[in-house]
Subunit: 541 residues, 2 copies
């Protein structure tokens, strides 16, 4: 056996840029499969547009155009009415991986990585060799357009054909040509992605021009901006030992005591005293930069031993119960729905998040199959629809671990849609492509509780339907009997048959009011739309 | 509504290192859940050790030690007898993300990213604040040890306590302390990970010292090094337009024609002529550096129109049928197994890969449940066990899409294990944590064919068992009848009853040989171990 020496092996040693890495592993960004790849592009651009509009306080209007230019090859553009991108940032925004305004802010946003937009540029480049074109105006000064490609070796933008332009409206339009992609009308296609985006963003107006030239407009359902989540200071319970040291390193406070009050939420002078009396070995008067691992460990341990006010819920803005109802009614038009907005919870000790759940029954809920129906799950994170990788997602794990039978629901055969939106300042996605939420215990548990609460509402409705159907049958049987009885009594007593019949009917009706409300025709119990309109019995408890 | 200007928003613009990214998103590296996090560390270090030993031509001996040092806190070391790491590379190997010897080579290896080892350093650092310690000797010069941590802002190593040492054996030992981890004896724990590693690496000797101090040794089952996969030149059908330009950019050939022959496999002068006559507009005499996107597109199109010899199979080395049999027998000791090694195939046009499949029945196959058994899937990629994210994996997708009933197999209730190993110069993992294979169509299809082939063998065995059981019942019925008949005939003819009985029995036995082989006791048909010993009827066709 010829042994090779380490020195020879290490002649091969190289270092690579993050752009080179994703060029080789594009499937990790969501570019695997032609349909999914096209959705990924739409997803990245539309999420960026929505974030930008909301940050600037502008009601979003987004236009997506897709045209076929060859086999598995499409030209795609996404335009918005957002704040635009200043010319000196456009290159980095769209052609530098891990650059952006969002990564370091502790704030609820759709994007959180600084990867997506540059990933699209990379994908255009490796499939068609073409740069993408950006056209933008910020409302101050002239607009511009330019072509942008990504120097993958150095993870840097290359800008060509830069032109200043007049008459461009405020906003950003990105246009590119992509191959190895496919437009498909399916549960996992662009149309469905945008339909779900509209579902969770009723304040946005979204227009899709599909490759056949047909226009689909998802109208704005609500003319008000969602509340703007505020960047918050981190909660003491959400910190790791390492986080605390990192914050201390960059702090300009003079003492650890003031550093704690200045940097974290819910930290008062009283709390400093309380913590100091537990972590006795930590010198609270020394400079934060001098904080050791031991200091930090002692402090974090102390944080866990005192009572804290929960994280500020204003940092996390869910869609809102009313908006979810309007949206679900628009899109699924269910026979009945039960909507739940849970209180803010925390995971990893202190990262706040809110779960909203809805269970919808009938109408366009569920998925039609050859045999009838099956339930489906509509997953969202910070209002962004998640269409792929459901198998690893916390939402799927929660829904699957439910004992649906306890709620009289057969998720395999009934027209049921489960809607879940998780809102947080930080969504722990399981992958760079952001298609699934990592199965953190606290998140899975909370989603399950939310689904259970919503399912209870639907259970009562379904039980009601079953009871109505049961009463209707009894009512019909007894009515047949009373008709005969009225006739017999009339014969026997010589009294008026109609009069006896009416009396008997009143008697029966008193006992089966629901059957009577249904008209007693007993075919199928009514549609129950009233229930869907006027709310959720599920919320009474 | 107060609108915010782009210029204000972009004050927040920042660029981040890839180390900062993974520090924030550690779950993407496999650090989610305490049990999984510990397995991830073991997985990264052991894969690196196996790769290093094999590259150097050394039969691997690996020692894993895990000791509990606090609540959810463990000290872990992995030592090997490999080639070691030269001191000037140790920092970058263990504390620079995206650096290594493997990323750029077109060669079958366990590691392929240059992330794993540095990810462990990062995880130690963010959970305990401690550096990891490396001790190594390469066999030339003195050995050394040092502490290594990762400067995440600059993605650079920080080395402290460097010492040269004598008397250190050749190899590498990495030791670190990690919190937020847990040692658990489960299907997803370290012991099971190493058990499966031994299953797919019978040439390696692996020792685990668990937190109770108990030693588990997975003995080397085969005393020969696996064939060494060779780095190969890429196959023309595996190239994208962009790949071809990238290769052309760094080529030192004078002309495109010689560049093609020098750079790619299966490219002869004849092929250059053939391609040239299709891609008429490409000037084959011009310098490769001058290749345009149009040139490359025309060439790639032409590549698809001519016939090519398949990619060189020597670049992909599967475990091997005999080794798989030995390994499965050692670990599952099944009643029966059917093992299949498929021929090399390609995905994405030209990346070669080989699938090995085994279906094992009985013994320790499957997973015990409260009600009995259920089938399980043992997934491997380049001999590395994949324990997590099965929901998104190509192997799971293939196994789930099988119509098991057609093979008389009830995967939900029978003691069945499906073993799959995918070997390739490039495994398209779905995530950075490398726990699932992306569902590329060609890979899913090929895995399915492999499982089907193996399942046919098991089907015949199970059918045989059912047939035996059927014959045994018939035999018993007829035997009851012949006993009476012999008695009656003896009475009738006055002849010897025993003689008639023996004659009748011989007659019956001729028709039901299997039942007789089973002894005709008809309880449960025999264990069929012979079948497992002497091979697989499944391979006859």
């Amino acid at each position: 056996m010829v042994e090779l020496k380490a020195e020879e092996i290490f002649k091969e040693f190289r270092q690579h840029s993050v752009a080179e890495f994703f060029k080789k592993n594009r499937q990790m960004l969501g570019y695997s499969g032609m349909t999914r790849s096209l959705v990924t592009i739409v997803h990245e651009y539309v999420s960026n547009s929505l974030d930008a509009c909301e940050e600037a306080g502008i009601l979003p209007e987004i236009a997506v155009r897709i045209a076929e230019t060859g086999e598995s090859r499409y030209r795609l553009s996404v335009g918005d009415n957002g704040p635009g991108i200043p010319k000196n940032y456009i290159g980095k925004v769209l052609a530098t991986i891990l650059a952006g305004t969002k990564f370091h802010r502790y704030m609820q946003q759709r994007g959180q990585q600084g990867i997506g937009g540059s990933g699209c540029t990379l994908f255009s480049q490796i499939t068609t060799g073409k740069p993408i074109t950006a056209t933008s105006a910020t409302g101050t000064g002239r607009g511009y357009s330019c072509n942008i490609s990504l120097d993958t070796v150095h993870n840097k933008p290359v800008i060509t054909e830069y032109k200043e332009l007049d008459g461009i409206q405020r906003g950003l339009t990105v246009e590119g040509e992509f191959a190895d992609v496919k437009y498909e009308n399916s549960d996992h296609g662009v149309y469905e992605y945008l339909r779900r985006t509209a579902l969770s963003n009723p304040h946005a107006q979204i227009k899709l021009t599909d490759p056949t030239g047909q226009e689909h407009v998802f109208l704005r359902a609500i003319d008000a901006m969602p509340l703007r989540p505020k960047p918050i200071r981190p909660h003491p319970l959400g910190l790791t030992v390492n986080d605390l040291i990192d914050f201390a390193q960059v702090s300009e406070s003079r003492k650890i005591s003031s550093f704690l009050v200045d940097t974290f939420s819910r930290f008062s002078q009283d709390k400093v005293g309380e913590i100091g009396s537990i972590a006795k070995d930590v010198d609270m008067a020394k400079a934060p930069k001098g904080m050791t691992w031991g200091d930090s460990e002692a402090l974090i341990k102390a944080f866990k031993q005192v009572k804290w006010i929960a994280p500020d819920a204003t940092s996390v803005i869910p869609i809102g119960e009313e908006q979810v109802k309007v949206a679900i009614k628009n899109i699924l038009n269910p026979e009945f729905m039960s909507v739940v907005e849970r209180k803010p919870k925390v995971f990893r000790g202190g990262v706040p998040f809110v779960v909203e759940a809805a269970v919808a029954y009938g109408g366009n809920s569920g998925r039609k199959t050859d045999e009838g129906y099956e339930g489906n799950i509509l997953r969202f994170a910070n209002r962004v629809p998640l269409l792929f990788d459901s198998g690893t997602c916390a939402v799927t794990a929660a829904a699957k671990s439910m004992d649906w039978k306890r709620y009289n629901i057969d998720i395999d055969t009934q027209p049921i849609s489960v809607f879940i939106n998780v809102s947080s300042v930080y969504i722990p996605y399981s992958g760079v492509g952001k298609e699934a939420i990592s199965q953190e215990d606290e998140i899975v548990d909370e989603i399950k509780l939310a689904i259970m609460e919503a399912a209870r509402g639907v259970q009562r409705y379904i039980s009601g339907k079953m009871q109505i159907s049961h009463e209707t049958n009894k009512y019909k049987t007894i009515k047949r009997y009373t008709e005969q009885l009225a006739k017999d009594l009339a014969d026997l007593t010589g009294k008026d048959k109609e009069g006896i019949d009416r009396q008997l009917e009143r008697l029966v009706a008193k006992h089966y009011p629901k059957a009577l409300a249904e008209g007693g025709d007993g075919e199928q119990p009514g549609s129950g739309e009233a229930a869907a309109e006027d709310g959720e019995p599920g919320e009474e408890e």
